[in-house]
């Protein structure tokens, strides 16, 4: 199981606690994790990726293992620690303010 941490607004929308676990078939990539997340929580469709293009929304970031994966290819393998369920995959609202 892959651990996914959602930002507060999406936890509220999905009516979940901080950590979500999703079953992701191999290979474990950002695309397959997000596909599994959206299958389990369909109300999240369109809030992380565009409905049609599947592109990351501009003010959403993806972190794992202290790395920013936001600009990685969606089909690139996620770090082994994430695939093994030892480290979470973070979906983050981009820092914004002043």
């Amino acid at each position: 199981m892959i651990k996914v941490i959602l930002p507060a607004h999406l936890r509220t929308l999905a009516n979940v606690m901080r950590d979500v676990e999703v079953d992701v078939p191999e290979p474990v990539t950002q695309r397959t994790v997000l596909d599994a997340l959206e299958t389990s929580y369909p109300m999240l469709r369109g809030t992380i990726r565009d409905h049609v293009t599947q592109q990351r929304r501009p003010m959403v970031r993806f972190f794992a293992c202290e790395r920013d994966l936001s600009h990685e290819e969606p089909d690139a393998p996620l770090p082994d620690e994430v695939a093994a369920g030892k480290e979470p995959y973070w979906i983050v609202g981009a820092m914004s303010g002043g």
């Binding site: 607004h9 929308l13 003010m59």
Partner: protein, 372 residues
């Protein structure tokens, strides 16, 4: 016993304000959807427990909510708004052509006869319809594909379709308004559209002041008993038409400023209308720091200031286009919300006002349901 339910959308969540018919004591519920921008909430006239809400975020985009129990519980519904076919382009701020891009839902208009049917006005300007209680949405693309579409340009708030009015005598007759494109009418349920802007003049905004499209219409209002009479708050100018939008004439009369955003019609007096004058397009606050609703009992031209209970000094809030509404109780109630977070109510057609709440986030929309 009858009462009212006021649905308030704010920059940081939604609130539901309820009272009995006296409208003196209020219960405040909220924030609902805390932290989200709630552009608009509106109830079905057929089933008052059926509410629709537009919930949006710069981070996470558009989501939609529906309640089937008057706002006690909510569930997310369909949030996919995809333009039909080739989206095409419209005019951008710099005069170039820019692709149509969905941003958010500004306004929801439930059907007058079917609680599962609801229209959504969106940015970039288009009209969507759902016939399955909001689970799926399809575009009525004849509007966006109108031959003038490439000339439409965003106002300061974006290229938004913010007003939808359904003719109560013929549900196939629809009126919409777009900033900054103007007003349009469909006589066939939204398949085909006609610009209805003849008589509008925008000397300071358009090179051709009486162009067919391009006018920054801020809001429209209709009394259900007279579907051919519409009132308009334009960027500047308050207007009326008596022929379903074919011709408009200015009725700003003695207003201290004819700039503003909302316009409403009294529930029982079709010639009684309300506006909230704002100083100018560059100073979005009331003239002289006095928050005044203006009422005309003559369908325009002659206006009186309504000030009892409203701040008459040092007030610099705005009232946005969807932030005013009326109830249908015997003594008509009038309500409006401000960008300062106040929601004011009058239970006597505007003669006297009192705040229901004073310190909400900036109010974006106010709708009222009269409950029996």
């Amino acid at each position: 016993m009858s009462g009212v339910r006021v649905l308030v959308g704010t920059r940081k969540g939604a609130f539901i304000l309820t009272s009995d018919e006296s409208r003196k004591e209020w219960d405040v519920t909220g924030p609902l959807f805390a932290g989200w921008e709630m552009y608009h909430l509106k109830g079905s006239p057929v089933d008052p427990n059926r509410l629709y809400a537009s919930q949006t975020s710069d981070w996470f985009g558009q989501t939609m909510q529906r309640s089937d129990d008057g706002g006690k519980t909510w569930e997310p519904i369909g949030n996919q708004f995809t333009y039909q076919g080739e989206a095409g382009t419209h005019q951008w701020y710099d005069g170039t052509q820019h692709p149509w891009e969905f941003a958010r839902v500004w306004h929801l208009e439930p059907s007058l006869t079917d609680p599962d049917t609801v229209y959504a006005g969106v940015e970039d300007a288009a009209l969507f319809k759902s016939t399955d209680a909001g689970q799926t949405w399809h575009e009525l693309s004849g509007l966006r594909e109108h031959s003038s579409g490439h000339l439409w340009q965003p106002g300061a708030g974006g290229l938004c379709l913010h007003t939808i009015i359904i003719d109560p005598t013929d549900e196939n007759r629809l009126f919409v308004a777009i900033s900054a494109a103007g007003s349009f009418r469909s006589d066939d349920g939204g398949q085909n559209w006609t610009p209805i802007n003849h008589g509008l003049k925008s000397e300071w905004e358009l090179p051709d002041s009486d162009a067919e499209v391009g006018h920054c219409v801020h809001n429209l209002a209709m009394h259900p008993s007279r579907p051919d009479v519409l009132f308009m708050q334009k960027h500047w100018d308050v207007m009326r038409t008596d022929d379903g939008g074919d011709n408009w004439r200015e009725v700003s009369g003695n207003l201290p400023s004819d700039f503003g955003f909302p316009i409403e019609v009294h529930a029982h007096e079709p010639e009684t209308i309300y506006v909230v004058p704002i100083k100018s397009d560059s100073e979005h606050f009331p003239p002289d720091g006095k928050l005044r609703v203006y009422r005309s009992r003559t369908g325009g031209d002659e206006w009186e200031a309504l000030t009892n209970g409203l701040p008459q000094e040092d007030c610099y809030v705005n009232v946005l286009r969807d932030a005013m509404a009326v109830d249908t109780l015997d003594s008509c109630g009038v309500y409006f919300g401000t960008t300062g977070g106040q929601v004011y109510a009058s239970s006597d057609s505007g003669d006297n006002w009192a705040p229901i709440v004073r310190d909400l986030p900036a109010v974006m929309s106010v709708e009222v349901q009269t409950l029996s």
